[in-house]
Every structure is written in C-alpha cells, then in structure tokens.
Amino acid sequence: MAELHVIGQLVGASGFPQRRLFCKWGLHAGSAWKLLEGLREGQTQVDDPQAGDMAYWCHPIDVHYATKGLQGWPKLHLEVWHQDSLGRSELLGYGFCHVPSTPGCHALTCVTWRPRGTWGERLSRFWLGGGPQLLAPDPAYAADRFRLRTEAAGTVRLQLGLILRHFERYGVQC
C-alpha cells in the first residue's frame, strides 16, 4: 500500500460580504483509503480581522492515509460560515477541492459558491441573512450539481504540503 501525508493549514478566506468568518472542513476519501492518523474533519475558530477583508484561521491539518488504489483520491470539503455579533451563524459558501497529488508544498485557492434562492429568499437574505443550504453537503453530490442554482462567493486559501510514499513502487507518477 502507498501512503499519503497531508500536512498544512487552512489559512483563511477573503472576498465574502461579511468578515467574521469560520470554516467547517472535512476530508473525504474513497473506500480504498484508510485513515491512519490525524483528524478528518474540524471547525476553525471565528476570526474577526482588525484590518482588511481576509479572515485568518491558521487551522492545522495533519492526516496520514494509506491506500491500495488511486480511486477516491481525498477531497477537501469546505463550508464557510459567518457568525454575527449575536452568535448566530449563516452559511456563506461551499467549496470542494481535490487534495493535490504532487509531493511538495502547495498554496491553493479554493473558490466557493452558495445556493441561490428565489427572488423572495434573496431579498430576505439581504435584510435578514440566512438563505438556502445544501441538504447533503458532500462531494459525492458533485454528480448531480446540475440541479443547483448558485452564486459565486469568496475564496479560501490553503497551504497544503504533500508527502507521498511508495507510489513509485507501484509505477505511479504524480
């Protein structure tokens, strides 16, 4: 079996209408993959940046996978949320991205989107916040995305380091 280490950080997010942001994240991998060490999901702190529109989380990721195949390469699933001053949370964006397959350090940007509601919902969102959310927010959902109406949200910045082991032993070039 080959091994994969994903070591890095969820750095932060920018380009959202609100600034006080946090992120729920999860890693999803296929059935050939086995998580040996590390946390597969988590939630960052809520950051209210003093200046600028980028919220910083500095949330560490350190996972260790073993795999017996290439299928189901891990994907990262991100949800960016806003927390208002009363402690209420509102979803601002979904993002899905593949974990890179090349060893080394990667500075990634993951763009996000959120479901777009009807006119009425959009109006109430403008004044009151809230809005539609996905029923099953997992990357497998990608298959029937065509049902979705969405709008572009902000971007999430990631710093991911990849350490691969023994892939070349099975003739895999990454």
């Binding site: 079996m1 080959a2 091994e3 380009g15 050939a32 086995k34 040996l36 073993a66 795999t67 017996k68 195949g69 290439l70 299928q71 390469w73 994907k75 979904y94 993002g95 899905f96 991205c97 593949h98 890179p100 397959s101 090349t102 990667h106 500075a107 990634l108 940007t109 993951c110 763009v111 996000t112 989107w113 777009r116 990357p139 990608a142 298959a143 995305r145 065509f146 049902r147 979705l148 109406r149 969405t150 709008e151 572009a152 949200a153 971007t155 070349e168 032993r169 099975y170 003739g171 895999v172 070039q173 990454c174």
Partner: protein, 566 residues
C-alpha cells in the same frame, strides 16, 4: 566589566542529554600565567591530559608539597565538580563559620557542612569554588547581567520578569493536558498567570564554577571572584555550557588587572563518566529494536496490496476541477464537458465521461464577471497499444467543453466553446482556456439572442478541434464567424501508472542515449515517430510548465494548438 575571554570562541554551547543530569561532571583546571612575564602566545599548548582517577585531592596535595618552588603553591589548581555540587570559597567559609551570621535555612545548612568539613581535615579546593542553584549569587547574577556597554543600562521589564520566574521555578507545576482542554482561554489572566506565561517557564537549574583569583595568600576577597563557567540545565534535558568545554580549542584566559598583568588561564572539560562500550552497544541495540518494531507496526497498519495496471498499459488518472469561468457576457453560467477517448484508449465501465456543473451567478472581481464552480471530477482511462509497428502517434484524450448561460425563462444560450488536451506529464496543471462562440452577423441575430435566447450552436462539439468524422487533408473554417468570449479555468492533477515506470530510471537513461545517438537521420520511421512524439511531448510539457502560474488563479494561459490549421 574588565574581564574578557580570549578563547577562540567565547560563546556557549548547547548539548542535549537523556541521561539524568546528576551524572554530569566537569573538570576545571586553573593556572596563573607568570604575573610579570610576557604575554603568552594564544596557541600555548593545552595542559597535558590527566588520567581519569586523579582527583582534586591529589593535585592539591601535589601543589602543597612544593612550597619552595619558583611559583607560589596555589598557582595551579584542578577540581572535578559534579552537578550542583557545592564547593565553598574562602569567603563563604569565613562567613558561615560564624553561626550568628547565618540567617536562612540554607545558611545554617552551610554552617553545618563547613563544620563537618573542618573536622574532616579542611576543604580541598582553594581557588575553584561553585555557586549552585540555591545560592543568592545565581539570582543576583541573572538579574544584573548587562548586555550592552551602555553605562546606564536598565534591565528591561522582561529581564526582571524572567528573573522572577527563575526564582519561582521550584513551585511550578506542569499543566495537565486535561485542564488544557476544558479551559482553552483564560478570560481574565491574573498577574501570576501573566508573569508565568509571557516568559519561558521551563524549569532551569543554574550552576556557576567560580575562581577566586586573589593574590597569593589573600584568598576570600569578593572582588577577585570571577565566573569561570556557567552551566544551565533545563527541564527538557538541554545543557548550556558557557563558555564551551575547552576540547580542541585552546584554554580560556582571564586578565585580572591590566597594570599588574595578572593573567590566568583555565580549561573546562567534560568529566562525566563515559558509557561503557557494551552499555552503549546495548543501548543502540535497544533503539534499533524499537525503531524496527515501530516500522513493523506502521507497515502492518499500512498493508502491502496495491491495485496494478495490466502489463503494457498506461493508466491515466486525472483529478480535475472546473474552477471558474470569467469574462462572459451573460450571467448564470454553467459548464458542460465531455471527454473524447481516441483509439487505443478505454475507460472503466463505471467512469462517467461527461459532467455538468451547477448554474452559478457571477460576481465582479477585478473588472471581470466570474462564476465559481469548484466542481470536482475524476477521469480514469487506460491506454494500450497492441500493434507496435503502427505508424501513427498515440493520440491523447481531449476534454471538450461548452459554457452556457441560463436566462430568466430557463432557456440557455451558448457562451463559448473550448477544448483541452489532457496534460501528458504528471503533476499539477492549472489551465485557463479561452473560448469562442459562433455568431450570426447582424443586429437582428443579436437582438434575438438577447430577447428570445438561443443562438447558433455547433452540432458536433468536436468541431472545436478536428471533427471526429473529418477525413480530408486540409481543415477549413472559412466562412464561419466566431466571436471571442471569456475563459474557463481548470485545475488538473494528473497521475500516471504503468508497469513500465517501474524500471524507469535505468531504461529511460538507456532510451535517451539511444535517441541521442540516432539523431535526426534515422531511416526507420518507427524510431523517427518515437523521436517526434518525444519532442512533441517535451514541447507540450514546456508549455505547460511555462504556463504554471505565479499566482494560482490568474495569469495562466494555456493555448490549444490547432496544428492542422492551413
């Protein structure tokens, strides 16, 4: 601060040890260099190595035995000092002998120890003595250390706080892991908390090896006390020795008084009992065992099976994302794409070869309207060529895509067509592909597009490149009007798997040298083809590499070459 160290390196050294620190022993040897003689050369020979069992007593006796030599008897002294071993100075003996001078518990203990020493026949050390962690000197020294040559240097509040913490180190308790979890944030930190947390509070023990460098017969005067060596050991097993052991370097020098040229030289050696060879070997064996067991444990967790390709096939595995589309005229965009596999390529039955993203409303970013899709897809395909003597080059799979926009009544218009050849090199490729769309000339058509929706479409999307049904020799698009539209960004992670890669390095080297030798004038077309394929692949790779972005999203352009253009 007159004293100066003349050693080659006066700085300290840091060591780490897993051993209990009580095993640490140092041998210090101090010697007066002629009080009136010329300045000795730097590279004076170090003192001859002393055999191990010779303790301070012997040496002291030897020194005492020759009182009528040219030198005063106490000119040279050697002492072996253990960690936190107290050697009293003449000053301390004089002070603590008197019980009335003893105030603290420590003083009284010293008093008792000195009395005991007297009974046992007096102390063995004369000039070399120590201040250990409990001594007042340790605190004072740390507090009053100057770091610049300013006459008015005031210790910063940080220095004061550090000194404070050092004094408190004994009653520091390690923080429990459990309490950490329950209380991540201290909402109103107390003075005490701030004092401890804003500085380093790993417990440190300090010890000073001192020299009483007073004139002969006038021992016990504080102004002649000098620090020979400072040793600090912290809770992590870090041992700081300042100055470092005089191993290969020369001895250290201390000049006491410029007028009188009172020069001392001293050496510090690590005299800790060395580990027996068998013990060391045993330790190494234990470690090796531990590591290999750990390795076995890990590989047990990992297992050994891995899915392989059939011999003679190449597996191309692409983790891709439709990241974004930018620069289109209308809002509410979606991307429809499909993969075309040329001859000799196949894909597993469950593999979806096409996809449709969600419909995304754009937002404005840097004067451009962008739609974020972030749509992940995975493509898996196999390449196998049965017939070696075939003339044509292996063709690479092509991803065709179209960008469409939805209008208010859920009707779509075509916004652009594009295509990309899947990268032939493994690794990350970020490709931003510009698109075009067919247009009908005239305002009426544009109005129709705006009001009614619908616009000319390609019947066959492979027309974007060379139509699959095309058989001729020249491809002509004459008479076909198009318009430049926006671009779509893809992020592709390509993986290639083949048994042929297993013996790569050796075989590739061989192959490259063969190609080099053959050059361009080979008669055999198959070899020529291979060469050409190689060149092409390299070009494409270079393009891809050049287009690898500085900034991940923007500024990367990958142009699709239409090689058969007239």
């Amino acid at each position: 601060m007159a004293e100066r160290l003349w050693g080659a390196e006066a700085g300290g050294a840091v060591y780490r040890s897993r051993d209990p620190v009580r095993n640490l022993r140092l041998r210090v040897r101090i010697q007066r260099v002629t009080a009136a003689g010329p300045l000795p050369a730097q590279a004076s020979p170090p003192p001859p190595p002393l055999s191990a069992p010779r303790g301070p007593e012997l040496l002291a006796l030897a020194a005492r035995a020759s009182p009528d030599a040219r030198r005063p008897p106490d000119e040279e002294e050697e002492a072996e000092v253990g960690w936190q071993e107290k050697l009293f100075s003449q000053f301390e003996v004089d002070l603590y002998q008197n019980e009335s001078a003893c105030q603290t518990h420590l003083d009284r203990q010293y008093h008792k120890e000195i009395l005991k020493l007297e009974k046992a026949g007096g102390r063995k050390n004369y000039r070399i003595f120590t201040y250990i962690d409990h001594d007042q000197f340790t605190n004072l020294e740390e507090h009053c250390q100057k770091v610049t040559d300013s006459d008015h240097e005031v210790p910063s509040y940080l220095a004061e706080r550090m000194a404070n913490v050092r004094r408190r180190r004994q009653d520091r308790k390690p923080i429990e892991a459990n309490s950490l979890k329950s209380k991540i944030i201290t909402w109103e930190p107390s003075e005490e908390f701030i004092k401890n947390n804003h500085v380093i509070n790993t417990p440190v023990q300090t010890m000073y090896i001192m020299g009483d460098l007073g004139p002969y017969g006038k021992l016990g005067q504080r102004e002649y006390e000098r620090v020979l060596c400072t040793i600090k050991v912290d809770g992590n097993g870090v041992i700081t020795v300042k100055p470092d052991f005089t191993g290969t370097k020369g001895a250290y020098w201390i000049e006491l008084d410029r007028q009188k040229r009172d020069l001392w030289k001293y050496t510090i050696e690590n005299a800790s009992i060395q580990v027996q060879q068998e013990e060391e070997e045993r330790e190494q064996r234990v470690f090796r065992d531990l590591y290999s067991r750990h390795k076995e444990y890990l590989s047990g967790l990992v297992g050994s099976e891995f899915e392989m390709t059939l011999p003679g096939t190449l597996r191309l595995f692409v983790n891709g994302e439709v990241v974004s589309a930018q620069g289109y005229e209308y809002d509410n965009l979606y991307v429809h794409f499909f993969l075309e596999l040329p001859d000799h390529w196949s894909s597993p039955a469950f593999q979806q070869l096409s996809g449709v993203t969600q419909t995304c409303a754009t937002k404005t970013e840097d004067w451009d309207n962008v739609a974020y899709f972030c749509y992940p897809f995975t493509l898996e395909m196999f390449f196998s060529q049965e017939n070696e003597s075939e003339d044509c080059l292996p063709q690479w799979p092509v991803l065709y895509f179209e960008v469409l926009s939805l209008d208010f009544w859920q009707r779509y218009r075509v916004e652009g067509y594009g295509s990309l050849v899947l990268p032939a090199s493994p690794g990350l490729h970020i490709l931003t592909i510009p698109t075009w769309r067919p247009v009908e000339l005239g305002t009426v058509a544009e109005l129709r597009r705006f009001f009614i929706g619908g616009s000319p479409e390609l019947e066959d999307m492979t027309y974007v490149r060379i139509p699959a049904t095309f058989k001729g020799e020249r491809l002509s698009r004459f008479g076909f009007h198009t318009e430049t539209t926006g671009s779509v960004t893809f992020r592709l992670y390509c993986l290639q798997q083949s048994k042929a890669f297993l013996e790569t390095s050796a075989s590739r080297h061989r192959m490259q040298s063969v190609l080099d030798r053959l050059g361009g004038f080979s008669q055999q077309s198959s070899v020529y083809n291979v060469l050409e394929a190689f060149q092409k692949a390299r070009c494409r790779m270079q393009e891809a590499r050049e287009s690898l972005p500085q900034d991940l999203i923007s500024s990367s352009f990958y142009t699709v070459h239409q090689t058969q253009e007239p």
